[in-house]
């Protein structure tokens, strides 16, 4: 008689549902997962080691490339760690700008997540919808930093420059002209804040659209309800943070509990789930987008009324203005030293954490007093979440692996670093 063997399946690294370069070794008994062994590191670039070989400011750009769908939140943790070590206070306007862009980033991230999660589970339309809205937010990124994704906008001491007073217009081409062109430019007549206000007025109805497609959708519920259930105790043990933790019913949000930037000055609520399954985490993230929308609204109101500096006046860490640099010897020396050598950070260590869209993103910096960090360690939420993959998928069907990967909101830039 022939003996039955378990089947070993190599899932990824080049699989559309692997969200990048996840290689999963799955041991299957029929269609049931017996063992799952994620192999990561295919995108390992040694960001932390590279950061140790560069002056502090030159690594901000690397942070964008960690979790490349929530760029500015990564920067935020890194610059906060530097600011802690330097004992630097940042202008209040910079705090509000950071809050504003952290929330823009959160929406960007969650849109990407809902798009790909939906696509993985068979909801194609949603992907197109989500990318349509992402486009506007990328334009906001572009308006402040000149780059649609890798902004390098946050700097130790504040943000690089103030919000622009006008938006770039869409130019006429063979494909965009006439009515299309007017529609695309309709929101772009005022400042960036006006543009974002148009967006947030429109966005809740867009979230309603997504919810119409999914929330009561029978197929969606069949694919997500009761899948990947994590109890609150296990979620803590496994190191879950962010929506993964809140989906299990633990109300923990760093924005509320350990407020940074201007989060103590805005009103918002923290949604939590009940059952800890994929569906609850979906609901949590959808509500987070609505809350982010409201935070952006409050930031816009505040930023309109309160002009002021956006970066510290300490010229050891922030560049002087261009005019000062050209007229004043001292400023020119500061400018030269800052961009060639950087600044020395007092010896010490600091751990700064932000509520990143995926969970807690922490930056642990150790300085020995040099112009380069002695050690940088980045705590990525996705790394911890993925380590719980085996526990979450064990006993589920093969198709549910895709749902769990989706619900964990995996991005390999931050996991592999």
């Amino acid at each position: 008689m022939s003996k039955m063997h378990n089947y070993t399946l190599n899932f990824g690294p080049q699989h559309p549902a692997a969200h990048g370069v996840l290689r999963l070794i799955l041991e299957l008994e029929g269609e049931i997962i017996v063992r799952a062994d994620p192999h990561i590191g295919l995108l390992h670039r040694g960001t932390e080691k590279l950061a140790e070989s560069k002056p502090y400011n030159q690594s901000i750009g690397y942070m964008d490339r960690l979790d490349y769908v929530s760029m500015m939140c990564n920067e935020h943790a890194y610059v906060m760690a530097i600011e802690n070590l330097l004992g630097l206070d940042i202008p209040i306007r910079a705090k509000f700008i950071r809050t504003l862009f952290d929330e823009v980033t959160r929406i960007l991230n969650h849109l990407m997540w809902i798009g790909t999660h939906g696509l993985d589970l068979g909801a194609m339309t949603l992907f197109l919808y989500a990318f349509r809205e992402r486009e506007y937010l990328m334009d906001a990124y572009e308006a402040v930093s000149g780059a649609r994704m890798h902004a390098t906008y946050y700097r130790p001491g504040g943000v690089y420059r103030d919000l622009p007073d006008e938006m770039t217009q869409v130019k006429e081409t063979r494909w965009t002209k006439g009515k299309d062109l007017t529609r695309l430019n309709a929101w772009r007549q005022g400042s960036l804040l006006d543009f974002l206000e148009e967006f947030i007025n429109d966005f809740p109805s867009r979230i309603d659209e997504y919810e119409t497609l999914l929330t009561n959708n029978r197929i969606w519920k069949q694919r997500t309800v009761g899948i990947g259930v994590v109890s609150p105790d296990r979620a803590l043990q496994l190191g879950f943070t962010g929506p993964m933790l809140r989906g299990s019913g633990i109300a923990w949000d760093l924005r509320k509990k350990q407020p940074y930037a201007a989060y103590d000055k805005v009103k918002f609520s923290v949604p939590i789930g009940k059952n800890g399954d994929c569906y609850d985490r979906y609901l949590v993230r959808m509500e987070e987008m609505r809350q982010s929308n409201e935070i952006i609204r409050q930031c816009i109101t505040w930023l309109r009324e309160n002009p002021g500096p956006v970066i510290t006046g300490d010229q050891k860490v922030a560049p002087p203005s261009r005019t000062a640099m050209k007229e004043d010897m001292e400023s020119m020396i500061h400018h030269f030293k800052l961009f060639t050598e950087g600044y020395c950070v007092p010896a010490g260590e600091s751990y700064a954490a932000v509520e990143h869209p995926k969970g807690e993103f922490g930056c642990y910096l150790v300085s020995d007093g040099a112009n380069k960090p002695f050690r940088t360690h980045l705590r990525a939420a996705g790394f911890v979440h993925l380590s719980a993959m085996e526990e979450m998928v064990k006993g589920h069907m093969l198709a549910d692996v895709v749902a769990v990967i989706g619900t964990q909101d995996i991005v390999f830039g931050e996991i592999d670093r």
Binding site: K49, S53, G87, Q237, Q258, Y351, A370, H377
Partner: protein, 249 residues
């Protein structure tokens, strides 16, 4: 805030007898405990289980290599009879390749200001008390660093310890599955050690004629664009003086 922290420090001092902790420091962002490898596990367990601490979650664990601590490549405050330092030499990871990597022995007698070369740094969080703590453990041996594994205390330590093993070569005693995690299959060396070259060791490409992937020595030249420099900043002295004055008064 500062008062609350000092209360926490006295709580820690009261609970842990002096032989279980090497030191308690109240650094600017959080309290840091240094623990010897022998007490690493039982102190961790108490930090998790005692109600006054209840650090239920391990948020971060990372390896550290203290080799070359405080070394700069540019002497800025002295000059020899041949002029000022040109900042072109040094032993930073960007300055050598695999064959020239420094064969240095870590000097434990305070040359680098740390009791050992390798350490593990853990950040814990207590959601109940809304508090973080940093705990650190120096490995007893610099050649074969071994530290007990925290996986049984906090399951989230699993991959972090694999990462520290992969990047620093720190072995975690009692870890259920200590494999490399981030580097390539069959990788040689521990890349985040300070004596591992920044440019790496081998490069990989697909070879048409052989019809397979081949490994070759890297072709990049080691180079450093900005020298590492440690400057004596008088403003920091002023800050430090202020801090001690506050402490005395």
């Amino acid at each position: 805030m500062a008062k609350q922290k000092s209360q926490f420090v006295s709580q820690l001092e009261a609970f842990f007898s002096a032989d279980r902790l090497v030191s308690i420091t109240d650094t600017s962002d959080m309290v840091t405990l240094e623990i010897s490898p022998e007490h690493w596990l039982d102190v961790a367990r108490d930090l998790r289980d005692q109600d006054e601490f209840s650090f239920t979650q391990l948020s971060d664990l990372c390896g550290m290599d203290y080799l070359s601590w405080g070394q700069s490549e540019w002497a800025t405050d002295t000059a020899s009879n041949r002029g000022f330092s040109r900042a072109v030499s040094g032993e930073g990871a960007g300055r050598f390749d695999w064959s020239q990597r420094p064969q240095v022995v870590f000097d434990r007698d305070n040359e680098y200001g740390h009791p050992g070369r390798f350490a593990v740094v853990v950040h814990l969080i207590s959601m109940e008390h809304n508090r973080r703590i940093r705990i650190r453990c120096f490995a007893a041996d610099d050649v074969m660093p071994i530290i007990p594994s925290l996986v049984d205390t906090w399951n989230s330590a699993n991959w972090y310890e694999r990462e520290a093993f992969d990047l620093f070569g720190i072995a975690f005693e009692g870890h259920p599955d200590l494999r490399r995690i981030l580097t390539d299959y069959g990788f040689v060396g521990h890349p985040f050690r300070k004596d591992f070259p920044l440019i790496g060791n081998v490069t990989v490409r697909y070879d048409e004629s052989q019809g397979r992937v081949v490994y070759e020595p890297v072709e990049i030249e080691p180079r450093v664009l900005v020298p590492r420099v440690i400057r004596d900043d008088s403003r920091q002295h002023a800050l430090a003086d202020e801090a001690t004055e506050d402490g005395n008064s």
